[in-house]
Symmetry: C2
Subunit: 548 residues, 2 copies
């Protein structure tokens, strides 16, 4: 009956031993010679390997990426690259040079034009485009990595890693590789005798190398209040009254952008005036947004859990440990998977800016024919049907027919009706549809599905889509706030009035929002310098944001 004993069950373990043996000429203990990393990678890797390269939303294992791109394609080829974010030229050099062939990823913003070219040239085969946590989930199922190339601030000689504030995705990728007899290689900014705290235990780490330069990291979540104008402010006022106050939103996530930055900046002014402090916006899942500093300093914010860090906020965060998750060393501990889990299941509202919305409220950040991918929004921007615990906010959107009723997550899209340059944000067909077709994708790359969206905010008003009786009424509610765009221009004024009466649409006056007050003076901070002042000098903005 049983066939036990006839098969080799330790192939991966044996391969790992052989790989580590092959790199021994380039190491001393766990430490790799930085000058010999390309050779070491060539010795370590085997054609066809599945390689998880840490290219997160923020931090980048750039030294290892460059070394990988520099491998001899005769020795290393046909790799299958798993990477969150295609952000650096080296990420695509790897394909152009034939070192890698297959790609599974989540986001390709800055490199999306070149990627389209490589796709067209047949230099890269895309497995799928994921939201971040899906890609990590698959590393434990059908995309288990053979090798992980990671990045951290410091390591000791036993391989214990200190990530500092940008823990981000490192523990998750390390876990996938370390416990499947994969090889983990980590570039660190500094090799030290003792790390200030252990973010990842040394016995999960096989090889470490001191990078000649600190790893690259972009201040993705920093928005200069100088660029926030009256339109963003009026939208923020309407969102605050029409959504945050109305549904008593205490737990939330804010996406990146000036629209949500404006909301953060009117909490200590307009929000305070409305008496909302302590009633809304208490628990957050988001990166340390500098524009949240005034609200934190004014006592609005009880807690913030972060996906990753943000350059310049290190000292500020370290000085606010009652609010931010910090370690024994005093600095931020972030964790993308746990923050995404929190953003999906523990917060009642997701609000994000959209670049394009169609008549059914489907939205996408794909524009101008480029395949950018998904990032993190789809995981938070949907009604989490696995949720079972109620909250007053969630119950406020009660849905379904008795006896099976349930609450609903608030998924809010916010945008001006026209983007810069007069391009309509509301369109008859999303660019994403065509991009998906052109790229041969089996389903179109929609970022947020219309039937998951509960509210849309524009400078015209708020649409309460969750109240719509069906798709037709939902389309009318979208049209009512879509202004002079192709989606909005045909709706009849009497129909708009009826929707207002029925509570499906609210204009500023319906929300008692005085648009004349939508001035920059309503912003708690009007410049980065103001943010620094609010922080008591603890916020250190990156050079590009310093104008004084």
């Amino acid at each position: 009956m049983a066939q036990a004993g006839t098969r080799n069950w330790t192939r991966r373990r044996t391969a790992k031993r052989e790989r580590l043996e092959a790199v021994r000429p380039f190491t001393s203990g766990r430490v790799l010679d930085p000058g010999r990393v390309p050779e070491a990678l060539q010795a370590l890797l085997r054609p066809g390997d599945r390689v998880a390269l840490e290219g997160d939303n923020q931090k980048q294992a750039d030294f290892l990426a460059a070394a990988l791109a520099g491998c001899d394609p005769d020795a290393v080829h046909g790799l299958h690259l798993l990477i969150s974010s295609i952000s650096l030229p080296e990420h695509l050099d790897v394909f152009e040079r034939g070192v890698a062939r297959r790609l599974d990823f989540a986001y390709a913003g800055p490199q999306s034009v070149r990627m389209a070219q490589l796709l067209a040239d047949g230099k890269v085969e895309v497995g799928a485009i994921h939201t971040y946590v899906e890609l990590y989930a698959r590393m434990f199922v059908d995309l288990i990595p053979n090798v992980a190339l990671l990045c951290a601030e410091q390591a000791d000689r036993e391989g214990n890693l200190y990530t500092g504030p940008s823990t981000e995705d490192t523990p998750t990728i390390a876990e996938a590789a370390a416990f499947s007899d994969g090889v983990t290689v980590v570039q660190v900014n500094e090799l030290v005798d003792k790390v200030p705290r252990v973010d990842i235990p040394g016995d999960w780490v096989d090889l470490i190398v001191e990078s000649p330069r600190p790893f690259a990291m972009e201040p993705l979540f920093t928005r200069d209040p100088r660029h926030i104008g009256q339109v963003e402010i009026v939208m923020a006022m309407m969102a605050l009254r029409g959504i945050y106050e109305r549904h008593a939103v205490t737990t939330l996530n804010h996406g990146i952008g000036y629209d949500t930055a404006a909301i953060e900046l009117i909490l200590p002014t307009y929000g305070e005036e409305l008496g909302l402090r302590g009633k809304i916006c208490k628990h957050w899942t988001l990166n340390p947004h500098p524009t949240l500093i005034p609200a934190i300093e004014s006592g609005w914010v009880e807690s913030v859990h972060c996906f990753g860090g943000e350059p310049g906020t290190e000292r500020y965060v370290a000085a606010r440990p009652d609010v931010f998750f910090t370690g024994g060393d005093g600095s931020l501990r972030s964790n993308r998977v746990l923050c995404q889990l929190a953003g999906q299941y523990a917060v009642d509202m997701f609000i994000g800016s959209s670049l394009q919305i169609d008549a059914d409220a489907n939205s996408s950040t794909v524009t101008e024919g480029r395949l950018t991918g998904f990032g993190g929004a789809p995981n938070m921007g949907h009604d989490a049907r696995g949720r079972r615990h109620p909250s007053p906010t969630w119950l406020d959107l009660l849905t379904g027919e008795a006896p099976v009723v349930r609450g609903r997550k608030l998924v809010v899209q916010i945008t001006q009706t026209f983007r810069a340059g007069g391009t309509p944000a509301f369109v008859e067909s999303l660019d994403a549809i065509q991009v998906g077709k052109d790229a041969g994708m089996p389903v179109p790359p929609i970022m947020i599905y219309g039937d998951d969206v509960t509210h849309v905010v524009t400078e015209e008003g708020v649409a309460y889509l969750y109240k719509a009786a069906g798709p037709a009424e939902r389309r009318e509610a979208v049209a009512a706030i879509a202004g002079a765009t192709p989606v909005g221009r045909h709706i009849d004024q009497r129909r708009v009035d009826a929707l207002r009466r029925d509570g499906l649409v609210a204009l500023p006056e319906d929300l008692r929002v005085d648009v004349r007050r939508a001035k920059r003076s309503l912003l708690a901070a009007r410049s980065v310098e103001d943010l620094v002042a609010w922080s008591g000098g603890l916020y250190d903005p990156p050079a590009r944001f310093r104008t004084w």
Copy 2:
């Protein structure tokens, strides 16, 4: 403008220092005197504290739970307990004695009768009932713990923890507490000089105590093949042909129970005969089910990622590292949050047994008027609307109207039409509805929502609910396979034939399943002894399963 400096931002850190100072009389370094744990907890805890007590689906911090229950309610009272699974009498003693008052949890199976009594007596206030990952998610948002009481196999004197195969939920709870200036206390089976691998770094751990007895852990996932009969086998055959083979399911999760155990046990026989090896069931997210051993040994299974361990499977798992996630020490590394993430986003099918299903295919494991909670199923048993990567299986259930189409997760419920004792599994109203009403729950405690269910399997046949044009047709398809139950007995035979023609229902003959072959001889293992033989003697079943 700025109010920086006027507020104390380090209250939690200060409180932690004071708490640790207060327990110093009972410690030597990080090590607590086991004889003085109740006193130490009394010194550590403050009235109203939020305490995360590790009571997982499997392992139990039972020594600390007993110490907590033994605290003097004059000194420690009004605690808010966060616990996955109310499994031990001590978990409720804590409330009966007034030490704790508020409770947020996920599952209360064995203690559900007593819990109902405590609720009725006003001794416990339930915040909410969650699915596991929701409860953890909230530990990073609005339920941040002040103290975490955890459990591991071993610790060294620096607090580095070795969990062995049952890592389960410990890293997640530890992370929530350790990085929010909470205090982490860990009971370990053994204090050692050096742990065989580090599952949780020592600097996340404040206090460790050697428990007089190893922590309790139940073999929840062990099913004796002796109890699998012809009905389970015929259902397994239909599931295999009508679902696994038809949709080419390669990535999946199996719930607990004899129904899915039967499927596992006919893979090497019936599945082999159908030529399905290598085509289905390659990548799994589930605990080390002993009934999966024959399929693993026969080469069906490429990988298994586990929520937790299973007593008796330790040596077997350690000998199969190509299949299971294992550490440098050779033993399993499990992780509930990551496995739930994988189960939600990376696998194409969830299949689980249900105790009750209503006419709309809503299902629940609540029966006999008891509030048991949710456990892990809701997270995996729903269509993950945040998913964006396609797979052939997911695309096979394409849904929606062009241009916005998407695939769908297979959510399968399997049950006989009548349970033991002649109780119908298909009912007009779920017991859960009444239980929810009686307990004053704002929404009824449905385990899996009918509109998320894609297939239902009974001994009568398979219903393909995802093909139904609407709720009415879905009800007909459910009725067609619900046999002589109140849900099934009124459907007309001609209607059933029409549903078969339209592909909404398949009977055994439609699937070319010869029910005469549904005999125990089709099981690859017919006893626990057989499983041991399949494992080459590596599986060590717990005493209660040893009958030889």
